[in-house]
Symmetry: C2
Subunit: 377 residues, 2 copies
């Protein structure tokens, strides 16, 4: 069974794709990077900066939001978009992944995951049905099925068991989503670890159920980049060409560029904000550590050709000082600078695909990162 | 001896004054509130927000900046305005006050204060001459003489000794400033604790030396508001009408309103940003604690009539959630909201004085604070 398609594939360039996803809260240009607004806020950025940086869509974490302030409360306040003031498209994860990584005393059964809240220790049950209910209460434009993700490396038996459970949960998630208002979307999640056969089976099973889009989960969980790219190559051909493909939790600029080259349309990652808080800047010269003493007397900006004001105007010496002094403004500036770099990269990727020049763009961009930072002065 | 006057007194309304101070980096409308950018950064605010909030001038802390990144380094990088990207007027304190409150093993002699840096334990000497040198290296539009501030309550003998030392340091500071470029200003600091006679003697001595402006120091250090206002009343009449008057480290909105009524032109305080980081909002309804459960389900903004977007648009429920969750954005929003409220108050004070309606403005504003927050819904 398939539903109305809200994704328009605009152009193919090799395997790379550019398109447009229409959601109840606006359009998303793909390939798209979704900054992560964990608990209804982006760490270190105002929403206006998230928007100005070129973000069409952001990700909210169901696990955090259901525990605090609570899904029913957010629904009563008009939904997550109204609550936060981010009035654009929003995707929520199912909560399952963070239950596994953040909560204690979790127990996975066929029916649900039971866990204790990391905030107040309360016992909470999260079933596929409750996950969908929570995501609908939050008002997510795109909801994710609940799945079980296995950390790699893992035994094939464990990977297969989790993949099969995820497929059954996919079916239940789909059923729970049937009464959603038109235009709202549900994505299935391909599991199967690093085993090609299991990835094929998972993707095939999901396509049979039928989703608005397909995510590839269970990657960027500790495996080498080559394994991740290999799994994308195994999975993408099984997925329908006309539906969006989302690689969850990825990644570095290079990860994203390589994944786009293999047919991925959407990404999310905490890296630009998290690394920003730790003094790292993403630039066309690669990732720079502003804590490094070489920047202490360098009046030059990170990148004088950048279109983003802080990247073009703030001196390396100032950023270095802010990072060394532990000033909040350092984290704020670098988080903003990094999100802007990620979005600029997505913008340039879309442009290159539209013009059929993605291959040379990819080569040029990768060479820029490999060349490294400008010489010290 | 007096110097060229860069202050124009535009209007008197009772004792309240409005004027214009012209500095090398721009004009300052008085009464003026100076947000505190401790170590070359405002905590939780971008410089563009400091400016947008209506700040004409900010304060930098000599103590912090001389230790890290260092005055000579900032000078080599083009000065504090260029270094930080805040391209407006800047006042620096002398460093003396923070040596007293932050550093260990400090020793005050006639010549200088010797102390150990709280960052790396290095032994540092700060004399009046070095303080002025540092402030000139930083490029401050307004430098402050070095003084010794006594915490109240204190013995009269201690207060007098510190006041006399501060007067001798005032003289040395003035001498050290003689070669400063035209347009740059040096303010003297009235000390004398809570003893009217010592305040008179201090102010008189400073006026005899002659400064571009006069600060009242050693207040808001633990004494009741009535004592602070009493000391302003004792001091203001001794100061020349045509020079700016700066009440250091003050204060709450009510402190500032009352001080303006007694002839003060300038203020600085960490309160809007520090209290913002602790979940407090300054509004025309008084100071509100966003941590309070009454806000959890309140979709209304802090003040729907505010001209500042975040104050008018962010719901109390959202701010409550951000504060409770420890999200940086909560501190960022409340710091911005508070600085904007302080600057709006200054703007309205200047307007009222210009129109000769300060008395009724003061009454109305105080009544609004006393009435308290809007009723819970």
């Amino acid at each position: 069974m398939t539903s109305a398609n809200h994704f328009e594939l605009l152009r193919l360039d090799g395997q790379a794709r550019t398109g447009r996803l229409t959601t109840p809260h606006g359009e998303v240009r793909t390939p798209a990077f979704m900054p992560v607004g964990t608990a209804g806020a982006m760490k270190g950025l105002h929403w206006r900066e998230v928007r100005d940086a070129g973000s069409d869509i952001v990700l909210g974490n169901t696990y955090h939001l259901m525990l605090r302030p609570g899904a029913e409360r957010i629904a009563a306040l008009g939904g997550l978009q109204k609550f936060t003031g981010w009035n654009g498209p929003m995707l929520t994860d199912s909560g399952g992944f963070q239950v596994m990584s953040l909560s204690e005393l979790r127990k996975v059964s066929e029916h649900a995951v039971t866990f204790r809240s990391h905030i107040d220790g309360a016992k909470v049950e999260l079933s596929p049905e409750r996950s969908i209910e929570v995501q609908r209460l939050l008002g997510a434009d795109i909801a994710m099925q609940m799945d079980e993700c296995v950390r790699l490396p893992a035994e094939r038996g464990d990977i297969e068991r989790a993949m099969q459970l995820s497929l059954r949960w996919a079916e239940r998630s789909k059923r729970a989503f049937e009464t959603a208002a038109p235009g709202y979307m549900l994505f299935g999640i391909v599991q199967g670890g690093d085993v090609p056969g299991l990835r094929h089976a998972s993707a095939g099973g999901l396509v049979e159920i039928g989703f608005d889009g397909y995510a590839i989960g269970g990657l960027a969980v500790g495996e080498p980049q080559s394994v991740m790219l290999g799994m994308i190559e195994e999975t993408a051909p099984v997925l329908p060409q006309g539906r969006p493909r989302y690689l969850m939790g990825v990644g570095t600029p290079e990860d994203m560029l390589e994944a786009v080259a293999r047919g991925i349309d959407m990404f999310d990652c905490v890296m630009p904000t998290r690394n920003g808080r730790h003094g790292m800047a993403f630039t066309r010269f690669g990732q720079l550590n502003l804590r490094n003493a070489r920047h202490a007397d360098d009046i030059r900006p990170l990148d004088e050709e950048s279109a983003w004001p802080s990247t073009r105007n703030c001196s390396r010496a100032y950023l270095h000082h802010l990072v060394r002094s532990g000033e909040t403004l350092g984290a704020m500036l670098l988080s903003e600078i990094n999100v802007a770099y990620y979005q600029r990269l997505m913008h340039d990727i879309r442009d290159a695909i539209s013009q059929g020049t993605f291959a040379s763009f990819r080569e040029r961009t990768t060479a820029g990162w490999a060349k490294g930072d400008i010489a010290p002065r």
